[in-house]
């Protein structure tokens, strides 16, 4: 019997040479006359270890970390196919503390299975959620999701079941399910890992949503920066169709549901749900005013469930194992687990799925291992480009929606980006405004004009041109953007800007102050 060797097909592994490692393993096996059965799995989320090659042995799966093409021959020499000793060996993968400590629900399967294989998916509770849903009434499916306490994982944290209930109650023949896979936040990659490493989970979640609200068509809107996710989804959809999980008469139930993957085109604001719907309809991604809610008038004017990848991906476990199973994780009103993404300047970046309630410090140091550069950590941005920067005094905040709101921050999509002491926070504040200026859809004035003015004001502060007056102006501007913008793009850009200003005021002091006073000249914007 041939020995199973796993080399991830996740982008994070491909970006450090996984394809050439996979090819080299097959070639070396042929050269030595050893039969190797290669599986391209998803990633375990221990991203500093990629490419993480695993071998199936009677004891369990043994891992070999950070393997390059040149090391493949030495792996064979060390008899890695029987778990032999090698400097890169990390032992049983399941026993690695980073993985063992986690509470994996959504990511229970990711990295273990062949992502495209329906049989592999079903080996680990796959398609059991839909099996149960098909025995239930639409109302009771929706009630199960409400009871689980699941809230939208895209960032807004709106109760998923309530959204579904509105769509279920809408009296229309045509309804749609739309998945927001426009994961544009820096510091986030959990959606990508689901799509590349366990795409049937997303398919099943959307299928359950379709059965629950009476929609027969779904779209997955994937960002163009994620070509691998796009291909993996297309392959998995084909496999699901062949196994009777998509198409007409799903599993003999007489119900119909079809899925299509659509590629976005590099606009950050299309992650906002109404802009995304505009884009899917073939227009510029301009934000729509609400109401009407997409749940009543969404895609092509029809009632639409639009949820993030992680929201849909949480649903199959809720249906398969019951609302209580999911509800029992978490703290306060934040129920279930959140796949946190540790990114930026951290020694051990990766995916950490835990119940809500652990502290940011635990994530940064117990999992993340501190900064990659070894320098003291200065600031942490949680929740993407529109999330606040947190100084050390706030790192003991529990990771839950309400605790973060209480300190003027957001959990968002669970991205955590760490910065060491070399970072200039006025530069990050300026960047937040600049990013908003680049990505603003232009519909509302606070966002379109405010962001450009914001860049200029930060520049003037740094040049020591009436810094106190500029600071007041920046605060006023942030107030206008916060309260006057149509969507979160302009409405939340002040979070990183104000948190940087409030917690790191020294970074905004001009080093040109004295020079320009002496010369008596003032900064003139270019």
């Amino acid at each position: 019997m041939s020995i199973k060797v796993y080399v991830p097909r996740d982008s994070a592994a491909l970006a450090v040479g996984a394809n050439s490692v996979a090819k080299a393993i097959v070639a070396e096996g042929i050269r030595r006359g050893i039969e190797v059965s290669l599986v391209r799995n998803g990633s375990r989320g221990l991203l500093w270890m990629e490419p993480l090659v695993e071998v199936e042995t009677p004891k369990g799966r043994i891992g070999y970390a950070e393997i390059s093409m040149d090391q493949v021959a030495s792996l064979f020499d060390a008899n890695f196919l029987e778990g032999g000793h090698h400097p890169a060996c990390v032992g049983l993968v399941e026993d690695i503390p980073y993985l063992k400590r986690q509470q994996r629900v959504t990511f229970a399967r990711c990295g273990i299975t062949d992502p495209i294989s329906v049989a592999d998916y079903k080996k680990y509770l796959g398609y059991e959620g839909i099996a149960r849903a098909l025995q239930m009434t639409p109302e009771s499916i929706v009630q199960e999701v409400i009871d689980s306490g699941l809230r939208g994982r895209g960032g807004a944290a709106f109760p998923t079941g309530i959204k579904w209930k509105t769509v279920l109650g809408a009296n229309e023949d045509q309804k749609y399910i739309v998945c927001n896979a426009d994961e544009g936040d820096s510091g986030t990659f959990a959606d990508r890992m689901v799509m590349e490493g366990d795409p049937h989970l997303l398919i099943e979640g959307m299928l359950i949503a379709g059965i629950a609200v009476g929609a027969n068509k779904g779209f997955i809107y994937v960002r163009s920066e994620y070509p691998e996710a796009f291909y993996a989804l297309e392959e998995a959809i084909k496999a699901a169709k062949e196994s009777g999980y998509l198409g007409k008469n799903i599993q003999g139930s007489g119900k119909e549901f079809d899925l299509e993957v659509r590629m976005a085109a590099g606009s950050y604001v299309c992650g906002e749900e109404t802009a995304l719907l505009e884009s899917l309809e073939g227009r510029r991604g301009i934000v729509r005013a609400k109401p009407p809610l997409p749940a009543l008038e969404g895609l092509f004017g029809k009632p639409t469930v639009i949820n993030n990848v992680l929201s849909f991906a949480a649903v199959p476990s809720i249906l398969a194992q019951g609302a209580n199973f999911y509800m029992n994780y978490g703290s306060g009103r934040s129920r279930g687990t959140l796949p946190f993404q540790l990114a930026g300047n951290l020694k051990f970046g990766g995916l950490v799925e835990m119940a809500f309630g652990l502290t940011l410090r635990e994530l940064l140091f117990d999992f993340g291992g501190g900064t990659a550069t070894g320098k003291p950590m200065k600031a942490v941005q949680v929740g993407g480009p529109l999330g606040a920067y947190l100084p050390e005094s706030q790192w003991d905040t529990p990771m839950d929606y309400e605790a973060f709101a209480a300190i003027g921050a957001v959990l968002g999509h669970g991205g955590v980006v760490a910065f060491d002491e070399t970072i200039d926070m006025s530069k990050m504040a300026r960047y937040a405004m600049e990013f908003c200026a680049i990505e603003s859809c232009g519909k509302c004035t606070p966002c379109r004009i405010g962001s450009t003015r914001g860049v200029e004001v930060v520049d003037r502060m740094k040049h020591g041109d009436e810094p106190e007056a500029q600071e007041q102006l920046l605060r006023d501007l942030c107030d206008t953007m916060l309260n006057g913008s149509l969507c979160a793009m302009g409405g939340m850009t002040p979070y990183p800007v104000l948190s940087a200003l409030n917690h790191y005021p020294n970074d905004f002091k001009s080093n040109l102050n004295k020079i320009s006073e002496k010369r008596g000249d003032k900064y003139e914007p270019a």
Partner: protein, 164 residues
């Protein structure tokens, strides 16, 4: 004065017509059509806008508006190689600003530009989703993480065909 249509332009129009007419029945067909044309031709030539508009029963302004709105769509031909450098927060925390400067100097053009010999186009991107392995770049749709100036120089040499 009659406009002389070059063979190239006529060819582009033919390709665009074949794509647009075969895909126009999709729901929300414009973005998939634009992706298909860009995939085929490398960019979306201005002479194809009218064809797309006619097929979808849209105005030329609507089609042009969509092409110019999205960062991904190009209306001019890119360099033979396209290098995208992630400039978002996570990559900044690992020195992407300095890396970008190195890349601009090494390639010989600034971001959003193409080298004068047409070999390389440089583009900033805001997140390639490799945030735990920053900084990241994408060269001709191939992802590369944990980028360093040395690694970049080797990759650039390889894509310019300088490796012996």
């Amino acid at each position: 004065m009659t406009k002389i249509i070059s063979i190239n332009e006529a060819g582009h129009q033919e390709q665009a017509y074949a794509i647009a007419s075969s895909m126009k029945h999709m729901q929300g067909a414009l973005l998939p059509i634009l992706h298909a044309i860009q995939e085929k031709i490398g960019f979306i030539p201005s002479e194809t806008v009218r064809i797309i508009a006619d097929e979808l029963n849209l105005s030329r302004a609507e089609v042009h508006g969509v092409i110019s709105y999205y960062h991904h769509f190009r209306d001019t031909a890119p360099g033979k190689s396209v290098i995208q450098v992630c400039m978002a927060e996570s990559c900044q925390s690992m020195g992407s600003d300095a890396l970008a400067q190195h890349i601009e100097a090494k390639v010989g053009c600034a971001m959003h530009e193409t080298t004068s010999n047409g070999n390389v186009s440089l583009e900033p991107v805001y997140c390639l989703g490799l945030c735990a392995q920053s900084p990241a770049v994408m060269i001709n749709n191939q992802l590369h993480a944990k980028m360093t100036p040395q690694k970049f120089d080797a990759l650039l040499a390889a894509c310019l065909g300088e490796v012996q």
